[in-house]
């Protein structure tokens, strides 16, 4: 007991930033930017959701099947799906993120031309599917086959990289809430992807956001679709478990 007491007293000091109260980047935003997100008629991301809805029902490939041909009643069949990604993909025996799954389904099941990462088509479909889970808690699968990717994601998140020699964690955990130049550094919770970034003047994926930070620290980014990104996405989703999805979010 004499030994245990000091350890108990020290325990709160040992909690990392990830144990702080979790905040969506939404809470850091100016009120007018928040209003832009919450009002569907003002949220520019809704243009991609509408485009995605149209693509979802558009026949493609030799059998002229649309997404909706299989996934009928989208509001029900796709509800909660985005909240569970990245997930384990049996076909490739590897983790896959939502955009990867949509592209895979389109190519292998519809037999349609592949949709490139960050293409308008894939972003639109991702936004549409993501939007079906808006308001639902992020719910990463308990699947133990995902554990290795989550661990790899954690390692990538905490590894320093680039000429500026910075890790994701050094800004987004250790200095979240402080200002990098004029911008408040958000905690790294992927609650609204794909999202409309005012800086981009367009909708973009979490992978695009990760690449932006990597380029910012003057590191060589991974290629779009790389397993490293999916690992980071899986790790971030596990940290954000229970937080509400906002897709399509708006960010500065």
């Amino acid at each position: 007991m004499k030994r245990a007491l000091p350890i108990l007293l020290l325990a709160p000091l040992c909690l990392s930033a990830s144990a702080q109260e979790r905040r969506s980047g939404f809470e850091n935003m100016a009120r007018d930017t928040q209003a832009m997100q919450t009002d569907d008629t003002a949220n520019p991301g809704m243009l991609w959701v509408l485009e995605g809805q149209s693509l979802w029902h558009q026949p493609a490939g030799p059998a002229a099947q649309s997404c909706a041909s299989c996934h009928q009643n989208t509001e029900v069949s796709m509800r909660g799906v985005a909240a569970r990604y990245p997930a384990w993909d049996e076909a490739s025996a590897a983790p896959i993120d939502l955009a990867g799954r949509i592209a895979q389904c389109r190519e292998t099941r519809q037999g349609a031309p592949p949709l490139a990462r960050e293409s308008q088509g894939l972003l639109s479909l991702s936004a549409y599917v993501g939007n079906q889970s808006r308001g639902l808690p992020i719910a990463p699968p308990a699947d133990p086959r995902m554990d290795a990717a989550r661990e790899q994601g954690r390692a990538l998140y905490t590894a320093r990289r680039g000429q500026l020699d910075l890790s994701c964690a050094q800004c987004h955990d250790d200095n979240a809430g402080r200002r990098l130049a004029g911008s408040t550094i958000p905690q790294a919770h992927p609650t609204g992807y794909p999202l409309y970034r005012l800086e981009w003047q367009t909708l973009g994926s979490l992978q695009r956001r990760l690449r932006g930070c990597m380029t910012g620290v003057r590191a060589e980014p991974f290629a779009y679709g790389a397993s490293e990104y999916v690992a980071i996405e899986a790790f971030l989703a596990s940290r954000a478990q229970g937080m509400a999805l906002e897709t399509p979010a708006v960010r500065p």
């Binding site: 680039g162 990098l180 003057r218 590191a219």
Partner: protein
């Protein structure tokens, strides 16, 4: 105390780089411009400083105001060249080091953040910052 000054202890050597990196002395005017330059010096992304004309200064790191009274020339030089020699966990980039880095982008590989002369210029400027920021 006199004895200490006459023969500085080993840690004092480790805490500073007393020899300039270049033969030509640093230029404080060029140094100020580098500190404010968000693509080159990058300083104001993290540090606030006495730059009334510069909006959007960071607050991740100590105010540059007063740096020239908090540290001497050799100490500041080491903190610019490679502050991780003092604190391996520091977020301060090493401005004059190319070794021991991970996945450096092709455009930056083998290059230091600033050149030797630029380090001396920034240093000359920082040494002029004698006054602490008002609290």
């Amino acid at each position: 105390m006199l004895l200490l000054l006459a023969s500085p202890p080993a840690w004092a050597q480790d805490d500073a780089i007393s020899t300039p990196l270049t033969a030509s002395p640093g230029d404080a005017t060029r140094g100020r411009a580098l500190v404010a330059d968000r693509q080159r010096g990058l300083c104001l992304l993290c540090h606030p400083g006495p730059f009334p004309e510069e909006r959007f200064q960071g607050n991740l790191a100590p105010d540059l105001a007063g740096a020239g009274s908090r540290w001497n020339e050799g100490q500041l030089r080491l903190r610019l060249v490679d502050s991780k020699r003092l604190n391996p966990d520091s977020i301060m980039p090493s401005y004059y080091r190319t070794e021991g880095l991970n996945r450096v982008g092709p455009a930056f590989r083998g290059r230091t953040v600033l050149s030797a002369q630029e380090i001396e210029d920034v240093l000359a400027y920082l040494l002029t910052l004698r006054e602490e920021a008002p609290r």
